[in-house]
Symmetry: C2
Subunit: 689 residues, 2 copies
């Protein structure tokens, strides 16, 4: 069996398994009952709003996709023109993954609410299944897309390692760009949507009208709930979709560019596909372990699933490495080193997760410090929270640096790539755990709006809380993989553009200039995202006030608020405001590459990565820590709800929201998008030199 | 006349002029009257407290200086052992500059208060003269230090360009390290001192006891005033002292390392000394222009002085370049390019200053945006302010990048070095303008505490406000010169350590790792500085509360508060808390250099510079913008003092204080210290390779 066929079979098996599982489980979820009429109606609004947003988002992005596709078709030569199609495919599958995830999540929400009336285990089953469909669709579609490209390319081109590395993989990088750019818009747009609705709903509803959170009389409440789906579920899915694709593509390119025989380079390049397929299998097995027995805590069930999937995937990696690379003596040593590199990635990801949990988790020392600071008012709350966030970025960077150094010692840049892939191998189950929390949370919102008895909300709250630790670990994986992936893509770009070492020396003032410019881009980007939220929230506030004013019956429950208009406002502002940051991310590398040259572009990429990763961790962790400090106070610390400390904590949490839900996670994508854009234009830049 | 002698004469002339002026004017300031007894007593407390702080600070740092000196003496070989003495000299002159500045500032404060009773012009004269003494002492002592080293070295060593560049200049870099490390501790320590006292005084005095700001019944008020001197005057002086030394030393090293004949390299290396000396003369002429005629605004006087000094120094530079470099055809072209590079630096510095003014000045669009956000509470105030700060870092980086690229096009890295020197040539008058604002401000505090009629305070407030624009420009010069200087020192390190281009390629995972690690150091450092303020302020709050409790007569003015104890608390916490961030700055490059190697260290340096400059601009500008938003509200915008908007603005300002007065400016030094440390250990690292 030829190596390419082996890779194709792995991709086929992985995508069939993953998508088969997703389809089967989707049917199951939709079969679950939602009996309550009110719940049905309200969840219908949410689902409708979410779909409306997605549809409009995709239609807004259509011209963008068309322009980029035409650019790629025109500026490339020969077979590389296929990059345009590959790009469209990437954008399309990413959109499809978002679409499926959203459809399932909005269906799973209401069904979780319903199931929560029976018990926590039933609710866990529905919500976790919803999450796992999301996870498996993402993984399956990613593999399917790569499969299509490799298969079609195989029909047209005579294979050799040079052709494979310089043309086929370059075409695949178009797929990665499609996925990345969609992810960027989804994250930024979703982030703006959800925070605008959230802030708008809270400020007018809770503060001015004095009605509780998630009260159905608040016109913005549906928009808020839609936002949770749009931001947390679809945004996160798109984010990890592109990380997954990026790390596979990057590892393939670096494998093909390794030193060694043609056969070995081919093997190293196909190996990531085998890993991805084994990861699917391991995730599916792990998902089966998430079963709740009577008296066993849901937390335990989730942990068992996640950790067993990781252990199984490690085993698979060992077997795959032995099978494919045994006996090969390459630059760095034997297959065992490759295996160790992948375990290194897992350990690094886990450490990052635990660090996130330490700095942001309820009851940890840093969060308690913030709780204490809340007692002396909002100013100290903010200073302390930012101090915690800044301090929290140090150790994760050390972990990432150790992963890079060790990965490189084990097997050069390819080792680093395998470590990144090691983090994402079991993405199927990781994403299931990540997505399950928001589903449970939204189920709680629906329960509130449908005026279910408080026990239902308690159950969904407990589920949401249970997922927190596991979700923190997921966040760690997301950050770590973003950092490593962008370094891999960056290295892949260097290989593809064929630059000499001297050109990218730090002695070169152009490199230094690029680096400085790169370091400031994440700040510019975050600033745009944050001010977009401010503007959008303001529009929402105006609209909610208008409805309360013009329809006084809303508060007396004699009139129904116009939910749709609020959804519409969030949608419109999100779509309008996501364009500029998105375009900056995509256009900056083009401008720098064409005007400043390849060495300035390389400086830019590494600058954006270093500064972006640190800023992202700072923002995400400050936001997370403020959030949990508020939760701690709400559950009774420092005189509890309504105290001065609580007011300060609310300020901290509000500031933290755009940090952790919009700017922070968008930065993860920003750094990768800029690297992928560069990778895609590498052949054009090479021709210009 | 030999070139070295020419350099020595320039240094001698410059330092004699500068120090002569400073001595002469100091006598004049001390001759000015302070008649009011109460003013005398209170300003005595302040001056005593400031001196006590400085003395204790220096004695705490003595062991540190001794350890580093021993390390340098032991680990170096041959003539390079002189680096240890040079280091001690650097630390000593920096301390002396701080000491003089502080002594003069605390004397000028009270005399300005006194003069303000006569009129604004009299007050301007005293305060500006105080500032100019500070400026000239800094410049003069820096030149004097370099003079001593070059002179002594000239006695012992046979000169050649190799000896000059590899040994003499390496010894001079020890001087730079001495200045830098003192500056770092002075900035961090001073920053913690002033903010702890400020926050402590405000929170208990204004909020709890309900007495106005700067009321003499508040036990922390003297500490607050001492802090202003310690932080703003001494800290800033030390900061620019080291920038000045760093840019001169860096330019000398890069000149000596240029391509070309031995004679040319020598000339390029001596040229920065001629520039420095001409800058002194230009500053002195500029200072003479700061004369207030009846009916002319003080702002105009300051502008005239600053800009005419800049114009004159440009003229001098042209003459010096023509005289020394005319007819030489070197790598990049003729002397005119060197001249243009220095003008480029001035223009870049000016642009940076104007950008700072645009983003943080009273009444500008971004600040008005914050004022508007204040109306919807502290959360929006903070989000908007941070958004403004983040956005504000973009254009300054573009300016810096343009300066680097053009400087490099003009005359390679040497051109960049000359641009940096161009920014700092007229440091004498720049610092005079910078230091004059805090002197006027403190004079106002003294007027308040001594219960002078409100007209006096009005005059000092007006003076303080007048200096704002010019001070913003000064801040721009400080940031720009820090960025360029650290890049120059970084390049000088590369030259001295003799590394090949390939070793510092961005393809090297060690370089990337160093870069990531470097990017996070400024965050760690800022986090430590901010949490130090929290702790110190807490101790201060406890003490003030204790005094009010145990001495109830204080509020009735029957008992005098124990000012000294508050000064003591601020001193003790500042000295304790400044050590860790300072040591991190100094030890990190050592650890990375010795454990990770030269290439990882280079990655670290560039990472710390890129991330640190951006973070510093973000923090400084957010803080500045919040400060002025509060001032705008206090002068009547958004319902004025006491409104909800004002409360939100106060929160913003309090968060901004440690941003702009402690963490932000310390970062400017951090990036240079790490580069200088590396430069100093370059020969040791070279031997290890």
């Amino acid at each position: 069996m030829s190596l390419l066929n082996m890779g194709l079979i792995a991709l086929l098996a992985g995508s069939v398994l993953a998508l088969g599982y997703a389809m089967n489980r989707t049917r199951w979820v939709f079969k679950q009952p939602v009996q309550n009429e009110r719940l049905k109606r309200i969840s219908g609004y949410v689902s409708e709003g979410a779909m409306a947003f997605l549809t409009r988002e995709f239609s807004v992005l259509l011209p963008f996709v068309a322009i980029v596709a035409v650019f790629l078709a025109v500026s490339n030569q020969g077979i590389l023109r296929f990059q345009a199609l590959s790009f469209v495919l990437g954008a399309g599958t990413s959109a499809l993954a978002g679409f499926i995830g959203m459809k399932v999540a909005t269906a799973a929400n209401s069904r979780t609410t319903h199931a929560a009336r029976t018990g926590i285990n039933e609710a866990l089953k529905v919500s976790f299944t919803g999450g796992s469909i999301m996870g498996m669709s993402v993984v399956g579609l990613a593999m399917f897309g790569i499969l299509v490209i490799l298969f079609v390319a195989g029909l047209f081109i005579e294979f050799s390692i040079e052709v494979f590395s310089e043309q086929i993989l370059q075409i695949v990088s178009g797929f990665s760009l499609g996925a990345s750019s969609m992810a960027l818009f989804a994250r930024v747009g979703g982030g703006i949507f959800t925070k605008a609705a959230d802030v708008g709903a809270d400020l007018v509803g809770k503060v001015e009208a004095g009605i509780p959170e998630d009260d159905h009389r608040n016109p913005a409440t549906i928009a808020d709930n839609v936002g949770d789906n749009v931001g947390d579920v679809a945004g996160m899915g798109a984010d990890l979709f592109e990380s997954y694709v990026g790390s596979i593509v990057g590892a393939m390119i670096l494998g093909a560019a390794s030193a060694g025989s043609e056969l070995l380079r081919f093997r190293l390049s196909i190996f990531p596909l085998i890993l991805a397929a084994s990861g699917v299998l391991a995730s599916l097995i792990g998902i089966r372990f998430v079963r709740i027995k009577k008296g066993r805590s849901p937390q335990k069930a989730l942990n068992t699933g996640t950790f067993s999937a990781a252990a199984i995937s490690a085993l698979f990696t060992f077997v795959a490495a032995w099978f494919l690379l045994r006996g090969e003596s390459f630059e760095f040593g034997g297959y065992i080193r490759i295996f160790i590199a992948s375990v290194l990635g897992m350990v690094a990801g886990l450490s990052l997760g635990l660090l996130t949990e330490y700095y942001t988790g309820t009851g940890t020392r840093p969060v308690k410090q913030i709780v204490k600071a809340c007692e002396t008012g909002p100013a100290t709350t903010l200073i302390t929270g930012m101090g915690v966030g800044m301090a929290s970025s140090f150790l994760p960077i050390v972990v990432i640096v150790i992963a890079i150094i060790l990965g490189n010692l084990l097997a050069g840049l390819y080792g680093v790539a395998i470590a990144a892939l090691g983090m994402l191998m079991t993405l199927g189950i990781q994403l299931a755990v990540d997505a399950y929390g928001p589903i449970a949370d939204n189920a709680g919102g629906l329960a509130e709006m449908s005026e279910f008895p408080p026990e239902v909300r308690e159950i969904t709250d407990e589920l949401d809380a249970v997922g927190n630790t596991t979700a923190a670990i997921g966040k760690g994986f997301a950050i770590g993989s973003a950092a490593l992936t962008s370094i891999i893509l960056f290295s892949a770009f260097q290989k593809q553009v064929g630059i000499t070492l001297e050109d990218v020396s730090l002695l070169n003032p152009l490199v230094i200039s690029g680096l400085l410019l790169g370091a400031v881009i994440p700040y510019l980007f975050s600033s745009l995202a944050m001010s977009a939220i401010g503007d959008a929230a303001f529009a929402m506030i105006e609209e909610v006030r208008r409805q309360f004013r013009e329809k006084p019956g809303i508060l007396q429950e004699t009139e129904e608020p116009d939910y749709k208009r609020c959804v519409d406002i969030s949608t419109t502002s999100a779509l309008k405001k996501m364009m500029l940051p998105g375009i900056i991310a995509i256009v900056t590398p083009l401008l720098v590459g064409f005007l400043g040259g390849v060495n300035m572009l390389l400086g830019l990429l590494i600058g954006v990565t270093a500064s972006g990763v640190v800023l992202a961790i700072f923002m995400a962790n400050s936001g997370g820590a403020w959030d949990n400090a508020k939760k701690m106070i709400e559950s009774g610390d420092s005189h509890g709800k309504g105290s001065e400390a609580h007011k300060a904590a609310v300020v901290g949490d509000t500031v933290g929201d755009p940090f952790k839900d919009t700017a922070g996670p968008s930065l993860n994508i920003l750094i990768k998008v800029m690297a992928v854009v560069s990778l895609v234009i590498a052949p054009i830049l090479k021709n210009l030199q």
